[in-house]
Amino acid sequence: MFNSAFDAVVPMVCVSLAGLFALLAEAFRAKGERMPIGGLAVIGLVGAGVASVLLWDRNASSFGVVTADNFALFVNLVLVVVGLFTVLFSSQTLERDGLPVGEYYALMLFAIVGMMLMAQATDLLLIFLALETMSIAVYVLTGLRRDQPNAIEAAFKYFLLGAFASSFFLYGIAFIYGVTGTTHLEQAGAAIAAQSMSSNPMLLLAVGLLVVGFAFKIAAVPFHMWSPDAYEGAPAVVTGFMSTGVKAAALAAFARVFLSALAPLVADWTPVLWAIAAATMVVGTVVGVSQTSLKRMLAYSSIAHGGYLLVAIIAANDVGKASMLFYLAAYAVTNLGAFGVIALLGTREHANDDLRDYAGLAHSHPALALLMTVLLLSLGGFPPTAGFIAKWYTFSAAVSAGYYGLAIIGMLSSVVSVYFYLRIVVMMYMSDRDARPVPPPISGLAMAGLVVSVLAVLYLGVLPAQMIAWAEQSISTIF
């Protein structure tokens, strides 16, 4: 099948087929019949993963608008991992919350298709479509528990602001089109390289609006306000999925657009991103300090992490690109694990995501507490975990580009963030609650997922060399 004109799209095809089958399965499912639809998703994702691996280094491209360079494939693989973890944690929570299984998986897979496409597309229009595909699926996933007002409210806010922002994004595309006469990145880039930005006010508008579009998706300040609400309202599993997958995809597209087509204008968009990144890191961590809901807390933390990722883009050098990829991978495993724990501790009635619900977890469920601790330490950037390597990598990118200021801001904000990560640890280990509700039993599958994620976190933390090498290969082929 390879070496055909359609290689580049194979991963997406796999996933979308899985999604369609999931829908069909749901359609044919008798009421109350249990069907391993998650299995379909796994098959599709694994297929996509295998395809991505096979496409490695082949720099395939289809339709002239979809590329399968290593950069995209790396992101694809991260997304596959995201998907797989999500599936692992979903199986239990879906049943518990009585969610529509088929639709859930289908939407999740469609979202992943959109994400993959964002990473792979080399055409702004396509990026827009991908972004919309992803977004629409995720809007719905957010509001999946429609019996809960919060879920719907979250979906509503996410949707409205998303639509609002994506129209800005679209407007930006329009101006790019107006300036260059094309939406295709290479050609646009070539055309832009010809002219300087200040001479062309429409280009200014274009860049500004594109920044807005992407910044919104990765929840950068001041476009972040939807994320805490959306993350809190959505089912924990979905939150994990959003916070990692959407970010990854958006950043991939962000990097591709700004570091290839808009690369000539680097001097022009850097200051804006600098400010946004700084604000994002600071606000994300500082506001996180006063949160009591775990989901919300981690929502702010993921805002902050978005800021760290922006730093990688600002560095705009090879170290930066590679570090971004590494960061995405590390962050994906860590955050999914953390939200997995939250999801598994919830019950149908209560999300159990308040800080106090974790009091004395170390007694009632030591293993879970231990895993959670490792994940939180990784989020806080303590060695020897993935989070530390990721932060170090990103900030060395910043330093190597001379952005000491950003590095220092980021480091200090990460110290602040440690405070609220440790509040959870304090709850779990250092404060006992007399009437401790026994946490719900955790399925072997989910537990396995957690263990795997923790192991991954430790592996990336102790032996990051291989992953770093891959990341570097990924950026070697493009830009």
């Binding site: 298709v113 959109g114 719905v140 508008l205």
Partner: protein, 175 residues
Amino acid sequence: MTFDLLLFYLFAAITVGGSLLVVAQRNPIYSVVSIVAAFCGLSGLYVLLEAPFVAVVQIIIYAGAILVLFLFTVMLLNATREDGAEWDRSHPYYRPGPTRVGGVLAVVLLGQLAWAISRMTGLSAGVGEAAPAASSVRLLGRVLFTDYMFAFEVTSILIIAGMVGAVVLAGKKGN
């Protein structure tokens, strides 16, 4: 004052007026109706831009399909007037702040856009002077199904996602 400039101003007036009404109406139904008017004006502008097919699609799909969907929803929810008085007044987070801020910002944005566009050189050329019109449906079709083939396919996923989503969210309880 040439004829098409006149037409432009006419359609522009309809469009702007319609969309202003959309924003100005308290009653959703009126909003929907006035947006239909706005879209009609828009399609007129498309005609002036020698994009007849787009104009038609604008009328049929947009005004015909999508807005009817809106209308249905409004009817379904039977929320004719902008309700929520009991929410607005009593609500602790009801503040005129966002409204005013948003209004001001909108004006600023308009200023920015206008300023940027007006400073653009090479756009002063009239329609049809810069390049010959490329608007035959055949051409459209060919380009759509060659260059934009993949995008077209992607929209299918998009639509499916949208459909499924709509069903999941709006469908009857307890599926």
